[in-house]
Structure formats: C-alpha cells, structure tokens
Symmetry: none
Subunit: 195 residues, 4 copies
Amino acid sequence: MSLKVVRGRPRSEAVERAIIEGVMSLLEEGVSLGDMSIERIARTAGVGKATIYRRWKGKEELFVEVMRVTDEPDQELAGESVRDDLVVILEGIRRRGLAKRSSALLQSLLAQAKSYPQLWELYHAEVVARRRARVTEVLRRAVDKGEFRGDLDLSLMADLFTGPMLARTILSHDAPLPDGLSETIVDTVIAGLRV
Amino acid sequence: MSLKVVRGRPRSEAVERAIIEGVMSLLEEGVSLGDMSIERIARTAGVGKATIYRRWKGKEELFVEVMRVTDEPDQELAGESVRDDLVVILEGIRRRGLAKRSSALLQSLLAQAKSYPQLWELYHAEVVARRRARVTEVLRRAVDKGEFRGDLDLSLMADLFTGPMLARTILSHDAPLPDGLSETIVDTVIAGLRV
Amino acid sequence: MSLKVVRGRPRSEAVERAIIEGVMSLLEEGVSLGDMSIERIARTAGVGKATIYRRWKGKEELFVEVMRVTDEPDQELAGESVRDDLVVILEGIRRRGLAKRSSALLQSLLAQAKSYPQLWELYHAEVVARRRARVTEVLRRAVDKGEFRGDLDLSLMADLFTGPMLARTILSHDAPLPDGLSETIVDTVIAGLRV
Amino acid sequence: MSLKVVRGRPRSEAVERAIIEGVMSLLEEGVSLGDMSIERIARTAGVGKATIYRRWKGKEELFVEVMRVTDEPDQELAGESVRDDLVVILEGIRRRGLAKRSSALLQSLLAQAKSYPQLWELYHAEVVARRRARVTEVLRRAVDKGEFRGDLDLSLMADLFTGPMLARTILSHDAPLPDGLSETIVDTVIAGLRV
DNA sequence: GCCTAACCGAGACGGTACGTCACGTCTTTTA
DNA sequence: TAAAAGACGTGACGTACCGTCTCGGTTAGGC
C-alpha cells in the first residue's frame, strides 16, 4: 500500500535534535537571530552545514521549527461562558508574549521574532490562523445564541479582541503586561458587542 | 566664546539626495530590503560606500530616513467629535497600510518593512509613539467630558482602537482593508466605553 | 576437507564493467578528468560510491585501470634490424600520443592524462618502464654486435631516441606529429651512435 | 599621455609578497600543491580569499607566479662554439630539474609541478618556448655556417637535444642527473647532425 | 590667492557567511 | 556478504557584503 519506500541511510533523529538544541543553546547565550548564521549553528551542533540544508531551506525555516518545538499547546476551552473562553484565549497570547515558562528560551526567541520578520509571519501563519479559528468559533456561538450582534464580520470581531493584546505584545518592548489585562479587554469589547 | 567652526569641505546635499533616491529607485525596481546591500545602494547612487557610512550607521538607519522622507504627515484633527477624530486616526493607519498614495514606493517600503526587522521597530518607535500620543489626547478629552469611562488606563483604551486595525494591517497579507472599517471599529469600541 | 568457501554475495563483474564503461562514456561526452568526481561516476554507472571504493582506492587508480583496459598492447618487434625495431617502438609512442585508433576515447584520455597529475606518473611507471626495457634490449643487441658505441649508458642512449618523441608528444598541444618523424629521429641519432 | 588613471586604493605590494611567501612557506613545510587550497594559503598569508582572487584566477595561476618569482634567469650564451652553447642550455634544464640553488623551495615546487599538470604546461609554455627559441637560434647559426645538415626541421633538431634531457628530468623521480650528461648528449647528437 | 581640513569616488583590505559540491565513511534495506 | 542509496562530518569552492582603510582629487572657508 505504502509506495514511498525508504531508501538509503535514514536521517538521524539524534542529529535533528542536536541542531535544534544547538539553536536553543545559542539563544540562551544571548546570540540574536540576526547573528546566528547557519555556519555557527552547524559548528555549535557539531554537524555539517549540508546536514542542516538537507532538512530546512534556510535560517527562517529552521527557526520556525524551533518555535514549533518550543511552543506550548493551546489551552483547552471550557465552552460554557463565551466571556471566559475569550479570556482564556487572550491569556494564551499574553503568556506567549511573556513566556512565563521556566526556560528563558522561548522568551528570547519570541522577543526577537517579533522584531524579526518573515519568521514572525511564517510562524504566525500557523498560530494566528489557529487562534483566529478558535476565536471565531467562540464568537459564532455567541452570535447564534443571540448574545452578540450578528451584523459584524466574525473575523473583524475576532480582531477586536485579539488586536489590542497583540498590539501590546508586539509593540511594547518594556512593560510587562499586567494580570487583569485579558479580562479588561474582553469585558470592554463585549460591552460594545452585546445586543 | 569659541565657536565650533565648520572646517573643510561641507557635506553635499546633492549627494544625500542621490543616496535616498537611489534607495527609492531600487525599491521601485522591486528590490527587497533584504537584497538591498549598502554596496548596491552606493553603486546605484554613484557614490562611495564611505559617503553613506559617514551619514548613517547602517542600512536600517538609512531606511528609516527614507521612510521619514517619504511618509505623509499626520492629518489634522478637527477636535470637535471624539468619534470623528478617532476615525481619522484609524484611517491614517489604514492608509499607511494600504499606501493608497499615488507613488507605489511607500507601498512597497511599508509592505516590506513589516516583514523586516529592526526597521519596523525603529520606525514605529516614532510613528507608534506619536500615534499613541494623539489617540491618548483625544481619549483624555472624552474622559474629561464624561463621555467615556474613567476607570481604564488611557494607553490600554488607545490600543482597543488601534490594535484591531494594526492586527489587520500587519497580519493579513491579502485582503484589502474595506472602506468602512475604521468607522465600524470606532463605533463598536466606543459602545463598550461609553459611560 | 574444509573448503575455503566464498561467503556472502560475490562481487558482480557486471558492476565492474559498468563502472569502467561509465568512466568511458563520461570521457566521450568530453568531461575532463578533473571534472570527473567519484560521485558523478557512481551516478552515471548506477552504482553506489562504496562499490567503487571497494575496488579502487580513488580516482587515480580507477583511471589507471581504465587506461590499462583501453590501451593497445605493445607491438611485436621483428628483431632483425636494430633501426627498424627502434622505428617501431617510436611509432608506438607517437601512436599513443595521437591515439590514431578508431575510438576517440583513448585520445581524450591520453590527451588529458598528460595534463593530469599522478595518473600520468602511475601509468607511465608501467608504460615507461616497459618501453625503456624494450629499447634497452634492442640497443644492447646493437652494442653487442658492435654496431653502436659501447661507452654510453644504455638508459641514456634509450632516452636519446625516446626523449625527442616524448618531448613532442607532451609539449606540443597543436601540431600533429608528421609521418616520417620516427624514421628521422632514429636515423639521425643512430648516425651519432654508430661506431 | 597616460590615459589609464589609477582609481581607488592601489593594491598593496606588501600583500602580494605575503601571499607568495605564504605559498613558499607552505611548500617548505612539505605541503603538496594538491593539498594547498586557496583557503589555506589565505590563512597562512593572513589575507582574505578575495584578495587572492583579485590577483589570480586560481591556484594554477598563482603557482605559475610563484615559479616565475623563484626561477633563476637564463644563462648568457657565449655565442662562439655551437657545442658549448648547447651544453650551457642543457645544463640550464638540468639545473632547474635538480634545483641546485640553496633553497629547497624550487626543488619541491618543480618536483611536484612535473607530476602536476596544467601548471607544468602553463609554466613551460613560457620556459619551453623561450628555451626552444634559444636552441633554435644556436642551431640556425650552425646550419648557416654549414656545420650541420640543413635538411632537418630546426624545431625537430632542437628536440633531439632537449628531449633526452627533459625525459630524464621529468620521468626519473629518483636518480640525480649525472654531471657530464649535457656534454654526452650534445656530443652524441652533434655527431649525427654533422655534415 | 593660498592653506588646509573635510569631503568625495573608487576600490583594496581582512573577515564572515553564503549555498553547493565532493570527499571518504557509515548505516540502512534488499538480494 | 555485496550492493544501491543516501546520510554524515569535513572542508574547499568562488561570490557577495560587511565596515574600515587608503588613494588621488575636489571644494569650501579662513588667512
């Protein structure tokens, strides 16, 4: 049934891990994404350049992989209260921004990715799309139940919630996002959307 | 008493213009910011590399200058209606994103800047800050007049308006932002902020 | 009783031929020895690299093998006239240089080998030694019969004949070696050696 | 009068020397021409790769330059005796082969060049041509004076003298060329050419 | 009407990295 | 055990830019 037969020596998973961990350890040393050349990553991982290029087209693709590996999964939604679900989603964004997790790694990766381009886009093509789908789903429920106005584009409504949080995440280098932020945003915007 | 006298040959303004126009013409040829090396810019402008470095520290700084030169000024606010002022500001953001202006130049510069590194930051350090100040000023008026709730952080309130627009500007590559967008956002958020 | 049994899969002669013919066909396509990598030969022959390395230590050895296979055998010497035998031997050198044979293969192989490294040495370690032995044998006869002076080193005398022909073969890229060349050389040098 | 104006920073002669001396010192360390990469030469000379490529197209050209620099000039010919002039020329070839000079450098360079191809050709395109011209000139005198037969091609006659010496120089890795060699060759061949 | 300092173009310079290629070895499946 | 396939660490290829540094040659004041 399976046609694509594996031929030749298979790619080593150990090598794959070594590369990704090489990027991580450089990140932990404080090396910026811009200063991180393929050559240096290969040197750090004890790996040939070609071995990296065999797997990824370039730096960006590799970084996306690292983010994917490092990223925490979306949180489960309770599904009972629209308001609470939205807060959970926004908290997810905020947490990603803060990188509250033990390792300082994701923190620096995200911190740099936002002022680093294509990467940010490539990564968010996934994350943003997934998030938008989640928000949209919640909003659809609210509209269907008659809680929210039905005359607005769902995707725009989604941005009314996530946009402010993203703006703060991306544009503010300094201030840590305060704790009640998600609730405040959700409650305020909901007030404007309520029927 | 002792005046710092300018000695030696003064810097040529013509050269300065030539460099900036060199960048612009490369931009118009569709050269991406990433592919635009100092070396190439110098070649295009018929200028020595050192002449560029004498004026700017590197590519980024030069690009910021080009944006500054190219950018249109903020629009005057009427100051009568809070709602109308906010719409004007949001339209400004949208227009910048769309780069509706005649020249295709700003369009491509902005289009790429957002998928480009520190430039985006550097530039927005100015634009974002200026914009936030403008929005904050308008909001303060509304709060003072008792139109809006006074219990919220002004800066957060500002992001409630600009965040959605920014999210759409930055994250959506494809869809052109529709015409009534600013009004919809402003009206909806205002509804949630109204006392 | 106990027979030394060959264990495992025996080496395929077909594979051996495929490799050598791979080299030849690349040669016919005009690929230079320098541009002919083991990797490419393996690809052309439809063979794994290891299969080549199992048989030869490297490119050079393989090329020597190809030359050996391709080379024409030394011509039989009549043994009657010293002069005629020398002419036959020189003609052999000239023919090798010209590669007058039907196939264009040896031509290009030889043409390049001379402007190629160790191969030339390795190959000539055989060919040159064999040739020198042949010439020396003929000369010894002449000396013994009293036809030639006996005070010279036989190996030097050999070079008096073959040297000029080699010089022309190796150093002249352009001029085709004329037909009467061997006779002229032999007759002239003999005149100097005659008792 | 001089039209070609020097523009830009001129190439440093010091750098040029450093590169050539880098090659020489590697040679003295016993590094073979084949193992001598541009990268390594640049490292040794403390120079960027581009600086080498700016001056020479590749390894071969660089090596030719090194040979040229290292090579000793042709010896003056007395012009009185044809026999003596020929001996002087042949001695020149022999000396080059032996590299009798103090430094072991030319020795190893020549030793390797002969089993190294294009280089040998490139270099000898000059040396051989120059030498052939010198020999031919001497021979022409002999023919004109009626000392030598006039029915032979001058270039062939030249090879009758230089060919044997070259053959011994190139093909014998081992034996040092004996002292009286040039005289023996010249006297023997002259005997065959005498009218 | 010089003097002199800074500017200008050109391009050399030591580096670093690019992405590709081949080296010779190794590891896998299949025969 | 051989064979085809292809991954692996290594290291060189030749090119492009980096940011700095000379060059010869302008171009302004200040003297």
